[in-house]
């Protein structure tokens, strides 16, 4: 075994580092590090910078504009962008819909939509969950009834992340209510400006607007917007969920968040000494550092074994569970680290251009809200309990 990078890999890492140094705006990196608000323009700005370099659709096949990276290169890219506090790539169009279109979409759909995903013309959101269908996604009820060359869609999606920004939503809809629940589902692309589509905000516990409810009332969708075959949507949905898991453990972002936590722990004082030297806190830090280092290797092992393509479900589940637990623990420690300064919450301090005096240290403002917001990590994308079910069924034979 050899855990070290080879010369080509080191060269690639240096290339990524040089790119980040030159092209990642400091403004954006500061926002990410300090948990300040990123708006649509910020995210689009970063997408455009990556696209100009040909690195935005980095999981895409070369013929559609992907860079043709090896699993190790993907891993290096994720780690380095994370460590540099780059904004995350918003996955809905790029790493959820695109792989489905590439594998199952019509030529016309590919030619039309894929370039628009890359250049940012279309912002996509994911319409899977419904009020009654969360973990039990296949029980979804939003219906699509064929009427000539349209489907007429009625129903409600929920938890639609950043749907307030979206031009399009990819939806799972029920096209046949008479068969087994997994067999009557189709995968439909819906223009958010179609009459009958209504988006309503859901405010999360930190006071932020990041998710939405989307209502469909007699929404007419051209049949050309059906992906693949009618009633085969569940297959595509599962493909989407298991596709390309390089980012799922979030190792790069956790390494960066941990580095920042170490900075905070070195800055905060307890009895005149850095908090990082306090044995109780030091133990908490050490445990997470060990877990993170282990995760880094587990992640790399899974990626290498899956050859860069779809990782098996059970392995993705392991990455998802442990990766999100580590990230949540980092935010938990950051919250603890700032002591009483976790209590004040001046929302404006998270906006660009705020020049009021911080309450306590300048890094404290977004930490508690980030901790609460990140409780979502173990809930969405298939809750960690559901991931454990997957491991149990797929690999333990229980």
């Amino acid at each position: 075994m050899d855990l070290a990078y080879g010369p080509d890999e080191i060269a690639f890492r240096d290339e990524v580092r040089a790119f980040l140094k030159e092209r990642l705006p400091q403004r954006l990196a500061d926002k990410v590090r300090l948990n300040h608000r990123l708006d649509k323009a910020d995210l689009e700005e970063w997408h455009a910078i990556l696209n100009a370099r040909g690195w935005l659709g980095n999981h895409w096949p070369v013929e559609w504009g992907g860079p043709g990276w090896t699993p190790v290169q993907h891993n290096i890219f994720d780690t380095e962008t994370g460590l540099a506090y780059a904004p995350r790539i918003i996955p809905f169009g790029l790493s959820m819909l695109a792989p489905v279109l590439i594998k199952f979409g019509s030529d016309e759909q590919k030619r039309h939509f894929l370039p628009r995903i890359l250049d940012g013309t279309d912002w996509w959101c994911q319409g899977y969950s419904e009020p009654g269908a969360g973990s039990d996604l296949a029980s979804l009820r939003t219906s699509a009834v064929r009427d000539g060359d349209h489907y007429v869609v009625n129903g409600q999606k929920t938890w639609t992340t950043l749907g307030q920004y979206a031009d399009w939503i990819f939806c799972l809809v029920r096209t046949d209510p008479t068969v087994k629940k997994q067999e009557g589902i189709s995968f439909l692309l819906i223009d958010m400006t179609t009459p009958g589509v209504e988006v309503r905000p859901i405010i999360l516990l930190d006071g932020e607007h990041e998710v939405n409810e989307v209502f469909f009332t007699d929404v007419r969708v051209p049949v050309g917007n059906l992906v693949g075959e009618e009633n085969k949507g569940w297959t595509y949905a599962k493909y989407l969920l298991s596709y390309e898991r390089t980012g799922i453990a979030g190792v790069g972002a956790s390494l960066a968040a941990f580095a920042w936590l170490q900075h905070i722990a070195a800055t905060e004082q307890k009895r005149g000494r850095p908090l990082a030297e306090d044995p109780y806190f030091a133990a908490r830090l050490a445990k997470i550092e060990i877990e993170l280092e282990n995760m880094r290797t587990t992640n790399a092992r899974v990626l290498m074994a899956s050859g860069g393509g779809a990782a098996p479900l059970a392995e993705s589940a392991m990455l998802k569970i442990r990766g999100t637990e580590i990230r949540q623990e980092i935010t938990n420690l950051a919250r603890r680290a700032i002591g009483p300064f976790a209590q004040p919450f001046v929302s404006e301090a998270l906006d660009e251009g705020f020049n009021g005096e911080p309450i306590g240290p300048d890094y404290a403002a977004g930490i508690a809200s980030d901790y609460f917001n990140n409780r979502k990590l173990s809930i969405f994308g298939g809750s960690n309990e559901v991931q454990r079910e997957i491991i149990t069924k797929a690999t333990l034979g229980l």
Binding site: S139, G339, P340, G360, E385
Partner: protein, 375 residues
């Protein structure tokens, strides 16, 4: 042994519970908690009239309670309704004032006229009670104070602020700390208020040659502060236990009603065992809160060990209960609209008041050593 409250205390709990159910419903609470003022003077006066403030003080100070279990019963009700009014500061500052014979002021608070803030923690202090740098200087007329106090709950609401300051000694030393009363609007006093993430408001206090009146003996306030903080911890522990009970009840209810895969999610053994763990841990938290309340009026070492044990316990279990409640609710547990998320936030942030889990674990160990030396 008897783990029941006596009749008077039960009546008080009933009265307060009924008031809060009628007048402090969750939407009212949210309006107050997120308002500009971050508290309600009207609610405060009404609750004072019910005797709630009086229950926190002994007869010598004009109250009719003041024991550990009086504090417990009040804060348990306040926690269940997620009340943001300035009870904690009034409790801690009021006990100091009562101890120093300032009964007039305490009586005003009992009547609802005066509101106290307990301004002890400093920006650099990180839960260390003796890390006091605010300086007191004698003048012809009395004293002036200069320094800063940090994250004081409901500071803006207070008519009287109790401030600790050094009359001698070095930061970290127990000797040389004294207590002072500063009145709202005093010269050189600056209050910078802000919303707290779990509702209500807090503030940073800065003092610049601010005239102040000394309370109690000069230089020996450490013991008084420690005792007031112990009372505050008993209050927080019971507030926390009440919040845990609410989270538990709401989560069990959700597990029974939320259907996925054609059955209530509470039928999944993976969730049943998690809920069982939370339930048994909450009983441990309750016992720690009982132990702390029982020890409040006794010997110092026993008291301090019991309150540190309680604060450690509710810190650890509070995080568990809050995180599990959100998790078992799935997406809905993450929303502002669901009261549960606000209970979870408050419970978590209680861990940041008067010392966190690590602080009190360390302190418990040190107090054990002290006990070994004296015992």
């Amino acid at each position: 042994m008897d783990f029941h409250h006596d009749d008077d205390r039960r009546m008080l709990a009933d009265t307060l519970g009924r008031y809060l159910a009628d007048r402090y419903a969750f939407d009212v609470r949210t309006r107050i908690a997120t308002s500009e003022a971050g508290w309600s003077a009207e609610q405060w006066r009404a609750m004072a009239e019910l005797g709630i403030v009086g229950a926190l003080f002994g007869e010598a100070a004009g109250g009719f309670g003041g024991g550990g279990f009086d504090i417990a019963i009040v804060f348990e009700q306040l926690g269940a309704a997620l009340v943001v009014e300035p009870f904690l500061g009034t409790l801690m500052a009021g006990r100091v004032l009562a101890g120093a014979g300032e009964t007039d002021l305490v009586e005003q608070a009992i009547g609802g006229g005066a509101v106290f803030a307990f301004a002890h923690g400093e920006p650099q202090g990180r839960y260390e009670l003796a890390d006091i740098r605010t300086a007191a200087t004698p003048t012809a007329a009395g004293w002036t104070l200069s320094g800063a106090k940090s994250v004081v709950p409901q500071l803006e609401a207070a008519s009287h602020i109790l401030v600790s300051a050094r009359t001698s000694g070095e930061p970290g030393e127990e000797a040389g700390i004294s207590l002072f009363v500063v009145e709202k609007g005093a010269p050189g006093l600056d209050v910078r208020g802000y919303p707290m993430i779990d509702g209500g408001r807090g503030g940073e206090l800065s003092l610049d040659d601010t005239p102040a009146r000394i309370v109690g003996a000069e230089g020996t306030a450490y013991a008084v502060i420690e005792a007031a903080v112990a009372a505050g911890i008993v209050a927080l522990a019971w507030e926390a236990v009440a919040i845990m009970d609410v989270l538990k009840a709401q989560t069990i209810d959700y597990l029974r009603t939320r259907q996925q895969f054609g059955i209530p999610i509470g039928k999944f053994q993976a969730l049943q065992h998690r809920m069982a763990t939370v339930a048994l841990e909450i009983e441990q938290a309750r016992s720690s809160a009982i132990n702390a309340a029982a020890a409040l009026d006794g010997d110092r070492l026993a008291r301090e060990r019991a309150v540190s044990a309680a604060k450690y316990t509710i810190g650890r279990i509070g995080t568990l209960a809050a995180e599990e409640a959100i998790q078992l609710h799935g997406g809905i547990g993450m929303t502002w609209e669901l009261p549960l998320s606000h209970y979870a936030k408050r419970l978590t942030l209680i861990g940041h008041q008067l010392g966190d889990e690590d602080h009190h674990l360390e302190r418990f160990i040190e107090l054990g050593r002290e006990l070994g030396r004296t015992g």
